[in-house]
């Protein structure tokens, strides 16, 4: 126990609840099962569907929505290991790229429909993630982040080098041959629906994890790794599982993204600013370790960014990134729990007050 006030981490609530009945706050917010969460989840998805349909004529908005939904999914995926697990990964662009190139290459070279190609994409991304992170999971917080950042850098060098897979620095392009089997559509509405499907998939997976033992263990590891280990949790295995699932979903997102934009080079896909950090930023603003946080975060951040790029992009190159970075700094200072986290707390406090 340290001598200093404020540095002491009071005994982890998650770990305690593994062995004891839950503390008083639980009576106000009952623990839901997967099925118990479904009504809210389905409602949220229905609202999103409604939103997409609402703008079905507007190409520009649909585009933004599609991107927002894609990032909602990607950020939710990141949140599994970054938010629930507390492992700040900057390597997710690598899994994103692996998924993208796997899907694209299988389609272009072997004629495999992207729908099917997403499966090996997910698998390969998960495999790469496990191989990369297995040796570095023993590193603490910032060291882990640096190592993952280094992975991204190495991936970029390799990506540029492996021209047969990525097209090298010239990039790769997928010819425009619309068709459902090719996952190439003429209209924006279909893409928005596709991304909504992806977001829904990620949401379901996140809910399943949060309400499962894995979710419990991940949070225990995040709160206090040593105590978790002492309680008998196989820390490395838990982290690897979380990372694998997170990477698999990210890989799927990558595949979807590349099929949508059809043109990409390694430096675009592996860009930390455009992808790697954005997943984390959205999760932070929405609420690290919450279910709906990344969704909300994406719906806020992506349109905002798009608007900024449109308004200021000409005047000030990089204006959207300046805004994002300011958000990032402010969020880290003041919004540690994100919007969803903060409103959750407020709801509990309000509920408590009302009951008196």
């Amino acid at each position: 126990m340290s001598l200093e006030n404020g540095d002491h981490k009071v005994t982890q609530p998650i770990l305690a609840s593994l062995t004891r009945p839950q503390p008083a706050t639980a009576r106000l917010v009952p623990v839901k099962t997967f099925l118990g969460e479904m009504p809210l989840a389905l409602l949220v998805l229905a609202m999103l569907l409604g939103l997409v349909t609402l703008f079905s004529g507007d190409s520009f908005t649909l585009n933004t929505l599609a991107t927002a939904l894609l990032f909602a999914g990607l950020s939710s995926a990141w949140n599994i290991i970054g938010g629930f697990g507390g492992q700040f990964s900057l390597a997710h662009s690598v899994f994103f790229a692996v998924g993208a190139y796997t899907t694209a290459n299988l389609y272009l070279r072997a004629g495999v429909s992207p729908w099917l190609g997403l499966i090996p994409a997910a698998a390969l991304a998960a495999l790469v993630a496990c191989v990369l992170s297995w040796p570095v999971f023993r590193l603490r917080g910032p060291f882990f982040a640096i190592a993952t950042m280094a992975f991204t850098e190495v991936a970029l060098a390799l990506g540029n080098y492996m021209e047969w897979a990525t097209g090298g620095t010239r990039g790769m392009s997928i010819p425009f041959r619309p068709g459902l089997a090719n996952m190439i559509f003429r209209d924006r509405f279909s893409y928005a629906l596709l991304m909504l499907g992806f977001a829904a998939l990620c949401l379901m997976v996140v809910i399943a994890i949060k309400r499962s033992r894995l979710g419990y263990y991940l949070q225990a590891v995040r709160d206090n790794e040593q105590a978790a280990r002492a309680a008998g949790i196989d820390v490395l295995r838990v982290k690897l599982k979380g990372m694998a699932i997170s990477a698999a979903l990210t890989g799927i997102g990558g595949g979807l993204f590349l099929m949508q934009v059809r043109v990409a080079d390694p430096s675009a896909l592996l860009s930390l600013f455009d992808f790697g950090v954005k997943f984390a930023l959205i999760a932070l603003i929405g609420g690290l370790g919450t279910i709906y946080g990344p969704l909300l975060g994406a719906l806020l951040v992506i349109p905002l960014e798009s608007w900024l790029r449109a308004e200021l992009g000409g005047l000030m190159p990089g204006a959207n990134l300046i805004a994002l970075s300011v958000c990032l700094i402010l969020a880290s200072l003041f919004m540690k729990q994100g919007i969803v986290g903060a409103s959750g707390r407020l709801a509990i406090l309000a509920g408590r007050r009302w009951r008196r």
Partner: protein, 242 residues
Amino acid sequence: MTNPVPALLSVENVTAGYGDATVLFDAAFEVHTGEIVAIVGANGAGKTTLLSTIVGLVAARAGRIMFRGRDITKRPAHLLPSDGLALVPEGGRLFPFMTVEENLTLGAYSPASRQGLVARRDEMMQMFPILHERRQQPAGTLSGGERQMCAIARALMCRPTLLMLDEPSVGLSPLMVERVFEIIEGLARREGLTIVMVEQNVTEALEVADRGYILDHGHIVRGGDAAMLRRDRDIQETYMGL
């Protein structure tokens, strides 16, 4: 028994803790110039918290701490050596990768202590010859007893009026324990230092002290003349295994 001279240190109804947990409840005691006061209790009683709160490393949630007639409740920890209050933390907490000599030098960091630093350091090396022998050794390589002595010497570098010690005897061999208590007594009797120590080793502590207090689960439950406490049946049974 009222003492007309105000206490050097007076802890008044102090409550303190960490995070959601409260460890000290309404603690109150006094220390007068020139005496040795021992605050004894079992593990987890709140002894370290008590000293940490006095010295400003932990914020008191309620109550007041007066030192030399001045309210130091909210005073930042790093200002206290200049005021004349020094703490030897539990285990000494020497800077492990710095030499013995560097550790002592740091003891005189506060502006009030910089004058005559070298002379004071030589004084300490004379008082504790083993430190002179080990002066260039990294403090992390010292044995338990040596570490404690170095920590005490380091705390003395700022010429404190009041010296506080957190479990000075913990982890030491019986021979070293005796030696340490000898030193503590010597500091009070010969150097005129006022001393407060918290200890688990109730027997030894009460033998050296003038007055004592019993800390139990964060509450100060007894206080009085050390000799009287030593003879007390209940205390003997609870703490001294008799």
